[in-house]
């Protein structure tokens, strides 16, 4: 049974089509793996075995009838941020206690329409605010990776920590995730998986619990580049329910895999060499450049001078939007209610009890920077800096650069309950230093595993592309993957 969970989506698709395996068998194998492993990893906050078996049975019927969809019978995990009809949807927050929506997010509906099977809902940082998955109301996720010779528990990254851990530990064939400042790419890098945040507007945000609306994008986390391409093709769509959904046809991303890099220009931004970055990160970056050069691409140095301002600008824009989006949690329409002496007291007590520390911190920052007298100094200044960050990329692309190669994270996975990080929120924020620029500019970004560090932990490289040129990222990432290989943790559970 466990052998079935080793199959990639592409491999499972072949076997299902050839009727060598059934969708029910495949789903049962994953449900058995989740039952055995989830108590240790804590990747799922809810498992939906009955729904999964029912969906798998329907998939088998469609396969028998010759009506299989693009993801027919493929068992997936869904981040708890996506609304799933009548199933636990809480953004891993206490304030959405008991919330089971009566509607389905566009992205998950697209997956079910293509025949995918839902295994359950995945753990995440509360409201997607975090880089370690430790702010979840449901407790931290444990990274399936451990340093060699060490028993220390590591974080899987965040906010899509449950998605990344479930994919790495083979508790789902692939997972949905979301990325506001690096929440797909950083956990993918920490778990040796592949994650892509597409261009803003490519995936509908309808039915995804909002964090920072001008930055949020959905994308997949998968075991390899091809699987990520297969998943994104199904997740992306043009959706009238999201006014920022872009009216462009969704290409066949898988077709880009295997295409030549000859004549491509890859930009290397000098500003991504930061103080205190481990030697190994620089080494893996150099290695990546060599692989792309060997594949026929030209490596050019570029400058993105406003890079260092992306993170501070993000910590104004994102909390500002969050403080507005999270105003709706007031104990009236859904979730938790804590009674008070009047309605305002009820709001304040509900929100105090329902939100965790990191969420409260961001609501406070956001409320402050939007409050009278501070709007121009903080919010307006940050939005202007954001224009400059985007302009840096536009200049690089106008000079002929096709894609940009950077490290994905400034380190490999760190320990659970790291005291140094817990005592200083800004230190934790620095995890997103290489990823956050991409959200600020609305560009597509992808994290692909490139090697292991001296502790035996995965390191990722990030590829940044032009708007709506995800295909360039898939073909380039595939070259890196061919050279670096794929990475799976040693089973200790």
């Amino acid at each position: 049974m466990t052998e079935l969970t080793k199959l990639t989506i592409a491999e499972a698709r072949t076997k299902l089509t050839a009727k060598e395996i059934s969708a029910v068998e495949l789903t049962d194998a994953y449900l058995a793996a989740i039952e055995a492993v989830n108590p240790v990893i804590n990747a799922y906050v809810t498992v939906t075995p009955e729904k999964a078996r029912e969906m798998a049975k329907a998939s088998d019927a469609r396969i028998a009838a010759g009506k299989a969809g693009a993801l027919e019978g493929i068992p997936l995990g869904i981040k708890d941020l996506f609304a799933t009809r009548d199933v636990h949807t809480q953004a891993c927050s206490h304030i959405l206690d008991g919330f089971k929506p009566k509607y389905e997010s566009t992205v998950s509906q697209n997956l079910w329409d293509d025949g995918a099977v839902m295994l359950g809902k995945l753990n995440m940082d509360e409201f997607a605010m975090g880089s370690s998955n430790e702010s979840s109301y449901y407790g931290p996720v444990i990274n399936p990776w451990k340093a060699e010779g060490s028993n220390q528990q590591l974080v899987p990254g965040g906010s899509s920590g449950g998605s990344a851990a479930a994919v790495a530990a083979q508790l789902c064939a692939g997972a949905t995730a979301t990325d506001t400042g690096g929440s797909i790419r950083q956990p993918a890098a920490f778990t040796g998986t592949v994650g892509i945040k597409p261009t803003y507007g490519r995936c509908s945000r309808w039915g995804i619990v909002a964090f920072a609306s001008s930055l949020d994008q959905a994308g997949p986390i998968a075991r390899d580049v091809r699987d990520a391409a297969i998943l994104l093709k199904s997740m992306a769509s043009v959706d009238a329910k999201d006014t920022t959904s872009v009216d462009l046809p969704v290409p066949d991303y898988e077709a880009a895999i295997g295409q030549s890099l000859k004549g491509m220009k890859i930009g290397i931004p000098n500003e991504y060499r930061v103080d205190g970055m481990p030697e190994e990160i620089e080494k893996v970056w150099q290695q990546g450049m060599q692989w792309l050069k060997d594949a026929g691409a030209e490596i050019v140095n570029i400058s993105l001078p406003h890079t260092k301002y992306a993170l501070p600008a993000y910590y104004i824009v994102a909390p500002a939007e969050a403080s507005s989006n999270l105003a709706r949690y007031d104990g009236v329409r859904y979730g938790l209610r804590v009674d008070g002496k009047d309605i305002v007291d009820m709001y304040e007590k509900t929100r105090a009890a329902g939100f965790g520390t990191e969420v409260k911190r961001r609501i406070m920052i956001g409320t402050y920077v939007l409050s009278a007298g501070y709007y121009d100094a903080y919010y307006l200044q940050a939005q202007k800096v954001r224009t400059l960050i985007k302009r840096d990329f536009e200049i690089a692309f106008a000079n002929g650069v096709d894609a940009i190669l950077t490290p994905a994270t400034p380190s490999s996975a760190f320990g659970i309950a790291d005291e140094d990080l817990a005592s200083d929120p800004v230190k934790m924020y620095l995890n997103d230093i290489f990823t956050v620029t991409v959200n600020m500019a609305g560009l597509p970004g992808m994290s692909v595993p490139a090697g292991l560090d001296h502790k035996g932990l995965p390191l990722g490289l990030q590829l940044i592309g032009k708007p709506f040129e995800e295909e360039t990222l898939f073909k380039t990432a595939h070259v890196i993957e061919q050279a670096a290989g794929t990475f799976a943790p040693k089973k200790w559970w």
Partner: protein, 95 residues
């Protein structure tokens, strides 16, 4: 710019977050840490730079002004902590 305890309490009130004295103290330190970090933005020359309003240059698509959904009051109140006859129930607001 840094915030004092009174400002923290005022912002918490604006954000409808009940905070204890102890929490407000702790938040003050953390907020000042974050505000100190974002302070570096003031050194960026933004003369003649337009603030970003949309990452993709696009005109917001508008829906047709028609009724295309509805008749689901029961669904809308299904998750509310307190309801009666498809109304949300809240503590008395008007005496």
């Amino acid at each position: 710019m840094s915030v004092d305890l009174a400002t923290v309490k005022r912002v918490a009130r604006l954000a409808r977050l009940a905070v204890s004295e102890e929490e407000a103290q702790k938040m003050m330190g953390e907020l000042n840490g974050i505000l100190g970090f974002v302070e570096q933005l003031s050194e960026v020359n933004v003369k003649d730079v337009e603030p970003m309003t949309s990452v993709t240059p696009m005109v917001m698509r508008k829906r047709a002004d028609v009724v295309n959904d509805g008749d689901k009051a029961a669904d809308i109140v299904a998750n509310a902590p307190s309801t009666t006859e498809n109304f949300f129930m809240v503590p008395k607001v008007v005496e």
